[in-house]
């Protein structure tokens, strides 16, 4: 929230006080250049990712194959979509712990709509996404109207969703036997011959949407503003409560979509699990450079974070690292990647 000592030293500011014209001059060519500069840095941020990919490609001939790369993207899809929505929440300085079990509950609801109630595919899918939004809405209201700290509000929701999934499903998986097309949502091969699943395409579309919303709409602007200084934002006449509710609800819509995709992938709604997924998604967001203090973050960073996690998990399996060592390796790589990223930023 406040500039750190490091920030202050690193901030490159020319000495003296340039005149207005000088500013105008700098201005003229600036936005474009600054943007270029910004995205170059983001690309550099992807350096860790590239290093990891290169490492695994050398270590195993099975890693850098079309099939395996698609497997990685598929594996990243669900966590990635959760992470996208959570990025907004974290930028406001909040957190959402309910995304994992919330997603599971949404999957169960998809089962209820499509299998128990026999709704048509499109209606069931839409209802599921809306249901996710509803969970987010409740989180948002708890946070912003009742004033419950986000950690607690969403922890409560996490437990409630975990329980409700079991209650509603009767602790049994629900299968989508009546709507066999349902599993196509995630699995349909869009390129004949290659196993490139529709789910990954949806992921890419969601990345684009999230990036636009974050950088080009009021939702994104106010997310940054609230996370940067909530009090000042409120004093500037922005209805902070309402916008927080909007942002949590939007994160909920992403959760709903993730629920559809994960249920589609497994052609079944599994009523358990999901616990721990929230940490994975939040980790992706934070590895991507979004600050848990709020006010700072980017969608591309989150995507890189999600990919780092997915590549690591997959690569370690591909090179058959003993399973007990895998989590040690993931832990170390995360530390090193984030540390290098910090160094780069401090130097920049």
């Amino acid at each position: 929230m406040t500039p750190t000592t490091a920030d202050r030293t690193s901030a490159p500011q020319p000495a003296g006080t340039p005149s207005t014209e000088a500013f105008a001059a700098i201005e003229a060519g600036k936005p474009r250049l600054a943007w270029l500069r910004g995205s170059l840095q983001q690309l550099l941020a992807a350096a860790s990712l590239i290093v990891i990919v290169v490492f695994f490609s050398i270590a195993s001939p099975h890693f850098f194959t079309a099939n395996n790369l698609i497997s990685i993207l598929t594996a990243a899809t669900v966590t990635g979509i959760l992470a996208l929505g959570t990025t907004f929440v974290i930028i406001t300085g909040g957190i959402d712990l309910s995304i994992g079990t919330g997603m599971v509950l949404c999957g169960v609801m998809a089962g209820v709509f499509l299998t128990y109630w026999g709704w048509p595919l499109w209606a069931g899918v839409a209802a599921t996404i809306v249901f996710g939004g509803l969970l987010g809405l409740i989180n948002g209201m708890n946070v912003s109207i009742l004033g419950i700290p986000p950690f607690i509000a969403t922890l409560g929701m996490m437990l409630i969703a975990a329980g409700l999934s079991l209650v509603i499903s009767g602790t049994k998986p629900i299968y989508f036997n009546d709507t066999p097309e349902f599993q196509q949502i995630m699995n349909l091969s869009i390129i004949p011959g290659v196993r490139f699943p529709l789910g990954v395409v949806i992921f890419v579309v969601m990345i684009v949407i999230a990036a636009v919303v974050l950088s080009k709409t009021l939702i994104g602007r106010y997310a940054f503003s609230i996370g940067s200084n909530e009090q000042a934002t409120s004093l500037s006449g922005v209805n902070v409560r309402r916008w927080k509710i909007v942002i949590y609800t939007m994160a909920g819509l992403f959760v709903g979509l993730a629920g559809v995709l994960s249920a589609s992938r497994l052609s079944s709604a599994q009523p358990t699990g999901g616990m721990g997924l929230e940490l994975e998604a939040i980790a992706a967001v934070v590895i991507g450079g979004t600050s848990l203090q709020g006010g700072k973050g980017s969608i591309i960073g989150t995507v890189i974070g999600a990919l780092i996690m997915a590549v690591l998990t997959n690569g370690l399996r591909i090179i058959s690292v003993p399973q007990e060592w895998q989590s040690v390796a993931v832990g170390i790589v995360i530390l090193v990647a984030v540390y290098l990223d910090m160094l780069r930023r401090r130097r920049a």
């Binding site: 003296g16 500013f23 080009k216 200084n229």
Partner: protein, 503 residues
């Protein structure tokens, strides 16, 4: 003709404090009304009532004769009341343009933001106001003075009828003050009015038409500026007369150098800065905004990285990597940015006061709360910090009283060298005198005091010697006797290498 804005019977209490008690005030069309009073008199509170931040316990507000209730900041904006708060309300992670137009973004197709248009609007605004600000700069990179300019630009960007300025010049230099006064003059029309709060008495006669005085939350009087003597205002404020200003007598025997800085440079700004501070003297630092005075102080105490330069203390060269090293060696630094770098807002007054010297309150392994309390109370009395108790949270104090807490923090620690960066920012005239007295006393005890101040009169009144900076270089070190406002300004505007001196 009805007044533009009329307040009557305004009262507002906080637990343990009656901040306002039956206060009235009227602002006429086209006038600048100055609002003065000691620290904690209730000025900011009154303005926050107008800005819709607090609800009054009692009282009526009339705008152009129409009585109304103000529901919140947004409502105040809609009514045409714009305010510059004493404490900044900026979003550090956003750009200047984004900060200024927050809540008023225009959208393309009802949905999308247009960053270019936003920057264009901001640039138009700055051109109109004659401010040198870069709309795309992120606010966290700005110095306090520039942040203040952003706040001013933001307030003026509203189509306001009533403009309230709560100590806008506390962080500004004379040059910027001139710019601000120009802006106020242009803002003033037969339809508008300005309420102007300041502790700088000499400004009042330049800008205001009338002066309203508050004391201890009560209305005292309203005077017409032209017919009033400064001293009269002060005695109404403080309830007692205040000594006139005098400059220190030339010192006969310069003390031993305590702190010697040689060849100090930093990556972005400072170039080869060398000076020494001697025992028993006050060394003033003057310069324009961004001249690098703060940066010198930060580099000396290790808060910023140095690229070159040595620091010698009592003749021994020392290694200072961070402020903790500096504090251990007896060098204290009071930051100019009270809110971000000075106080712990959510902690108590006494905790803040002993923060730098907490180790002295440890007996064995335990901290002695009793002694902390007694120190706290000692400084509350000494500096007249207006607070119901030492357990009050600092965020509940008025701005000036918060500043006193920060000063107390460094007075409570026994340092050989004290670097005070804008120490009297937001402090009322009476208290300022007392603080100057305290600094003199400390110097008399043999300490070396460095005071960075943007108020030239203060620098002249306080310092034995005056260092002047421009563009990260030291351009002069003058004895007080040789210094005048004019020649200080001249050195402060030497923008090239030719005038650079050493020592």
């Amino acid at each position: 003709m009805t007044a533009l804005l009329e307040l009557e019977g305004m009262s507002k209490g906080f637990p343990g404090v009656q901040a306002l008690d039956d206060v009235r005030l009227d602002l006429r069309h086209g006038e600048v009304l100055a609002l003065v009073g000691e620290n904690g008199a209730g000025k900011s509170t009154l303005m926050k009532l107008l800005a819709g931040i607090y609800e009054p316990d009692a009282g009526t507000i009339r705008l152009n004769g129409r009585e109304l209730r103000i529901d919140g900041p947004r409502h105040a904006q809609e009514l045409g009341i714009a305010i510059i708060h004493q404490e900044f309300n900026l979003m550090p992670d956003l750009t200047i343009a984004q900060n200024i137009f927050i809540g008023r973004e225009r959208r393309v197709a009802g949905t999308f933001l247009d960053e270019r248009a936003l920057n264009r609007r901001a640039r138009e605004l700055f051109d109109r106001l004659g401010l040198a600000l870069d709309p795309t700069e992120r606010v966290e990179r700005l110095t306090v003075a520039r942040q203040q300019m952003v706040e001013i630009a933001k307030a003026l960007s509203f189509d306001a009828r009533v403009l309230i300025m709560d100590e806008p010049t506390a962080a500004l230099n004379d040059a910027e003050v001139d710019v601000l006064f120009g802006l106020i003059e242009r803002f003033r029309t037969p339809d508008t009015g300005v309420i102007y709060i300041s502790h700088r008495m000499e400004e009042l006669s330049r800008i205001s038409d009338r002066i309203t005085v508050l004391r201890d939350g009560r209305y005292i009087d309203t005077l017409v500026t032209a017919d009033t003597d400064q001293r009269e205002v002060i005695s109404l404020m403080v309830g007692r007369p205040i000594e006139g200003e005098s400059r220190p007598a030339p010192r006969t025997a310069p003390g031993e150098p305590v702190l010697t800085v040689t060849g100090l440079s930093t990556k972005h700004l400072l170039k080869d800065v060398s000076f020494e501070a001697r025992a028993g003297e006050i060394l003033g630092f003057a310069g324009l905004m961004g001249a690098g005075r703060t940066e010198v102080a930060r580099a000396v105490v290790g808060a910023d990285r140095r690229t070159a330069g040595t620091v010698t203390l009592h003749g021994r060269q020392v290694q200072i990597q961070n402020p903790a090293d500096a504090a251990r060696l007896g060098i204290g630094y009071l930051s100019e940015d009270r809110k971000q770098l000075g106080v712990l807002l959510e902690r108590s007054v006494r905790e803040n006061i002993v923060l730098a010297s907490l180790r002295d309150y440890v007996r064995g392994v335990f901290v002695s709360d009793r002694r902390i309390e007694s120190t706290g109370r000692e400084y509350v009395q000494k500096l007249r910090i207006k607070t119901p108790s030492t357990a009050q949270l600092v965020q509940n104090l008025s701005g000036g009283n918060q500043q006193k807490v920060v000063i107390a923090k460094w007075l409570a620690k026994d340092c050989d060298v004290l670097i005070f960066d804008e120490p009297t920012r937001g402090i009322d005239v009476g208290a300022k005198d007392e603080i100057h007295g305290l600094l003199r006393e400390l110097a008399a005890q043999g300490k070396a005091i460095i005071v960075i101040s943007s108020e030239l009169p203060e620098v002249l009144r306080l310092s034995d010697r005056i260092a002047v900076m421009a563009e990260g270089r030291l351009t002069a070190v003058l004895d007080n006797a040789d210094a005048t406002q004019e020649n200080l300004m001249e050195y402060a505007t030497r923008f090239s290498a030719e005038g650079t001196i050493t020592r």
